[in-house]
Symmetry: C2
Subunit: 327 residues, 2 copies
């Protein structure tokens, strides 16, 4: 068998073979016991999160839809201060999809699961006729165990805002890959699992809020927080690192790097007194990490960007089409 | 706004409006607090299950993709003896999808949630360009609290097998709707939430195993069990109720009703001594419920159908394409 067939989604013999293939990559005790669902161990502070992935292209510099699906869903848990534990995984596969590509994606998921010490415990497969989806869509829903009370409602005036690395990598790399831009080879997505870094951070300081800056980029995260708490977030533009190749693409094409997606870079809020300790941990994982701003009450529910020349402008909530299917 | 636009999946302003619309239908305390994930209450015996729905047509006699997605996912939990509690919900929507259809589907999901006393606590929306998916796909992942130890590994020789109603309704109704068959109006899908019935059943008897007979129908469930336990399941064909209109379609088109999907009908295994009590409960909800067979050791890992005339044939695990996109 070289391609996924409609029969592999029939609930019968061929479906069982496809499920067998998937189970080989995700093998664990709970998945082996899975029936219509899977009984898990007791959970004291469960956090639940879900994400569907429709990215194109399926393979890109720095990752693929498989790595992204596990990293992305585990990152949503990590951002809530929760250690990823149990994941479900559901595939919608287009008839004719190459089995070798599917296996490559499964292997990539398995490797990312290891980094999170998380397990796929239940799953679903649907095969749709040619033309009914574009290749492969993956849903990963995660359950984590919360280790610290991390929530945007804890953000207060005087807190400091940090970013864990340089921004806009994922959006720029997907755009470059799609458009065949020459700089493509230089731009790698930041796609990665954040739990190992977050675990270090939570041990060192009291993190008030975290959010990975995915769709809508850093601009969306900061605006959501400013609105939720009716506070102002003031950002020093020059503190935010952006790769030179990405700056180039953004200048030529008129993209705002603050709006481009990241898939392994997050924004965090801590008390001012803990901001330097937090930065030290972040810098160990990525030297581009920085303290980028402060929570104030200057313009409630707004985000302000301060340029190196002392000018100020509002950084708005993104709107319009931006880049579809980047995750 | 009349149609879903690409901008509604951008992670920014328009996305927030779409999420606001969804939250209106699913309103509950936990969903309101949702950030990247949602903190749930402590769970002693959590069961996790996932299902993606790609059914076509989206609206059919007896339900729609919204009702099906909630009922189907909650039924997977119910079949594990688990009371549905917390659900995640992820939409992949094709650009141009009518908002009024989307709202109709949301309303239908909300009504089915009530029947299960379950809550959507976290979600995700992706909008893909025209042609990248066919209308709307929904993933619902559920967490339930297990109330009884229900598992196929408890099935033993001598146990009785029951079915909760007449079979093949869902598959036949979807097929009829797609092909514009005249009998269409008479055939209604069995799509429904099973938890209320299962709760009654668990109170009355000790259920060993349950499985809703979805893709692959009753044939797939019985074969999975026979293989898992290396036992034989012997079924009295005439005990299994099938609607006359459905029988007609199957005879004309050569379908086997044992292979057609159900979406609100399940097979259960209980001790012989409790089988009549179990039947009484099932019949209260559907008079077509019946004791249909017995677990034996005659042909290990096989399912045997006994005709009213005393002949016997193996009921095999389904194979081939059957009907794609029925769930």
């Amino acid at each position: 068998m070289e391609k996924i067939t409609l029969a592999m989604g029939n609930g019968g013999e061929e479906n069982a073979k496809l499920i067998g293939l998937i189970q080989k990559y995700f093998a664990n005790e709970l998945l082996e016991k899975a029936e219509d669902g899977t009984l898990l161990s007791k959970l004291d502070s469960p956090v639940m999160s879900t994400d569907s992935f429709t990215i194109t292209p399926l393979f890109f510099k720095g990752g693929d839809i498989g790595k992204l699906s596990i990293a992305g869903s585990c990152n949503d848990l990590a951002m809530m201060g929760a250690k990823p534990r149990f994941l479900s995984c559901s595939f919608i596969i287009e008839e004719g999809f190459l089995l070798k590509d599917f296996e490559r994606i499964l292997a990539s998921m398995a490797s990312e699961l290891e980094k999170n010490v998380a397990f796929i415990v239940t799953g679903d497969t649907k095969v749709v006729p040619k033309g009914s989806c574009d290749g492969l869509y993956i849903n990963v829903t995660g359950i984590g165990e919360q280790m610290a009370d991390v929530s945007q409602r804890r953000i207060e005036e005087g807190d400091m805002v940090l970013v864990s690395g340089d921004i806009a990598r994922h959006g720029a790399s997907i755009f470059a890959a799609r458009e065949g831009i020459e700089l493509e080879s230089e731009i790698e997505s930041d796609c990665q699992s954040l739990w190992p870094l977050v675990a270090d951070l939570l041990e060192a300081v009291e993190v008030k809020a975290m959010r990975d800056a995915t769709r809508g980029g850093v601009a969306a995260v900061l605006n959501e927080w400013a609105r939720a708490q009716n506070l102002c977030i003031e950002v020093n533009e020059e503190a935010v690192a952006i790769d030179e190749a990405i700056k180039g693409i953004c200048e030529i094409l008129g993209f705002d790097p603050f709006v481009l997606a990241n898939e392994g870079t997050f924004v965090a809020v801590v008390r001012e007194s803990e901001s330097k300790d937090a930065l030290k941990i972040l810098k160990k994982h990525n030297p581009s990490a920085a303290i980028i701003g402060r929570v104030t009450s200057t313009y409630p529910a707004r985000v302000v960007l301060k340029s190196p020349w002392g000018t100020r402008r509002f950084l708005d909530m993104p709107s319009g089409e931006i880049l579809p299917r980047i995750c």
